[in-house]
């Protein structure tokens, strides 16, 4: 479904990614882990057309989407929840969800998606009229995921969704991802919470210093010595 081939890119003259290739198949949950500053976010940004690839290509649903504009990718069904969330803080929860469904023109489909998203995050239903700016970190993360789901994405890309959340809210986020997985939504997940991520991921990639250092099944990685030492904190 998504295919990144030999991707290289960076910021102005600073190269961040070297020869990165990865794949996400239909209905898979694929994790991307690695230390801070490895370039995980940069990979996601280049997939989404926010950072232009220098070399290599990105394919989605068989089409070459390398360097295509972000809004066109959204229309194709790629949803990206960024680290910064990029919510519309001066809008209400409901307006944020309305904007999430910007590309959906059928009222019926929109209402169905909205019901589904609100059933996934009942808290948002209670907060419909609240401004995004005044919500807690956990609620903002829920809203960011919900807004992305309003697009009825074919592939949902999440960048550190549990970052900065209380343990309770981390549970809510991971529960939501599990629920999406059970509904066969395709997810690409970047996370620092490696243990829980590998538990739910079908496959995972490890990015170190801008290159893919390892790849494999989620469960295999949980037992890997290198992963245990580096990311799971068990000696």
């Amino acid at each position: 479904m998504l295919e990144v081939n030999n991707l290289e890119t960076g910021y102005s003259y600073l190269q961040v990614l070297w020869n990165v290739s990865l794949k996400v198949e239909q209905s898979e949950v694929v994790a991307l882990i690695g230390p801070n500053g490895a370039g995980k976010t940069t990979i996601l940004r280049s997939i989404m057309g926010i950072v232009k690839p220098w070399k290599g290509s990105v394919k989605f649903l068989g089409q070459d989407i390398t360097g295509r504009q972000t809004h066109e990718l959204a229309k194709m069904g790629l949803a990206f929840v960024t680290e910064d969330r990029n919510l519309f803080s001066g809008m209400t929860v409901m307006e944020n969800l309305l904007m999430g469904g910007f590309t959906i023109r059928s009222k019926e489909k929109f209402n169905k998606t909205l019901d589904y998203v609100l059933s996934l995050f009942p808290r948002l239903e209670e907060r419909k009229k609240q401004y995004a700016a005044t919500m807690s970190g956990g609620e903002r993360q829920m809203l960011a995921i919900a807004r992305a789901l309003m697009l009825s994405p074919k592939l949902l890309i999440l960048d550190e969704p549990s970052m900065g959340l209380s343990p309770q809210n981390v549970d809510i986020v991971f529960d939501a991802i599990l629920k999406l997985k059970s509904e066969n939504v395709t997810v690409m997940l970047v996370e620092q919470n490696v243990n829980r991520t590998l538990e739910i991921a079908d496959r995972a990639y490890v990015l170190e210093n801008g290159s893919i250092a390892m790849e494999g099944k989620g469960e295999d990685m949980l037992n890997d010595e290198h992963i245990k030492n580096m990311y799971l904190g068990v000696a």
Binding site: Q69, A74, A79, F102, T134
Partner: protein, 298 residues
Amino acid sequence: MDPSQLLDVIFTGVLRGGLYALMAVGLSLVFGVMNIPNFAHGEFYMFGAYLAFFSYTVFHLGPIASIIVAVAGAFILGVIVEKGLFYTLRKRSKKQWIMNTFLLTLGISIIMQNGAKMAWGATYRGITAFWSGSLKIGSMNIANDRVVGFLIAVLAIVIFWLFLNKTRIGRAIRAVSLDETGSQLVGINLDWIHTLTFGLSCALAGLAGASLLSITPASPVMGIGPLYKSWFVCILVGMGNVGASIWGGFIVGLLETFSYMQFGAGWQDAISLTIIILILVFKPSGLFAKKGVKSVLE
């Protein structure tokens, strides 16, 4: 000041305020959505006035049709300027964006003023009235055109407000002013929204210039006054806050009229500006700067 005078101040102030609000809404919108401090806003007002003048006197269109021509013309010119200049600049570099676009709008302003002078001369081109007659309110006779102009301004502002808050495209404009990346991620085409926003802002300025043609005749430099007034309004309420700029328009209109009636014409700007400066000393980011809501400059 006796009660009847106070009533005069309120009426005159509100009528003026409608014009300032109409101008300020467009200025504020362009700053909020595109981060462009538009110093050519007054020239679109001027352009609207000329279009209405020629439609009315040369082509003998009716008042409403003349105003519509002016609004449409200002919109189209706005779209051309956006696509030709700001879009091109945006594709090249966003470095020093505010400074560069500020200089660009100054250039546009000078070109449009001199273009108008070249094309139509430096003389005033006015009409006696779109709607002749006047309305007697209290001790004052207010020209019908002023009243209709005010009603048009209020109507335009209400429609525009509904557009921004209740329609899909209007909401997209607000979304872009709040978060560009977020907007693109939900599928909004930034370039398209930018062009539309600039066009609409110019259309509102054109509407203001056209509907007050009988009161302020068309001339190449007629836009300077309204430009600065709308800047006062935007600075007073907080840059880029579209909703508040409506109230700001009325506040500035009333302040000015009050100073004018109380201290004479020579004092109106001095007094009203002093009050604005005093307000800004205590509320430096503007009267209605919202807490927690990201402003465009953050």
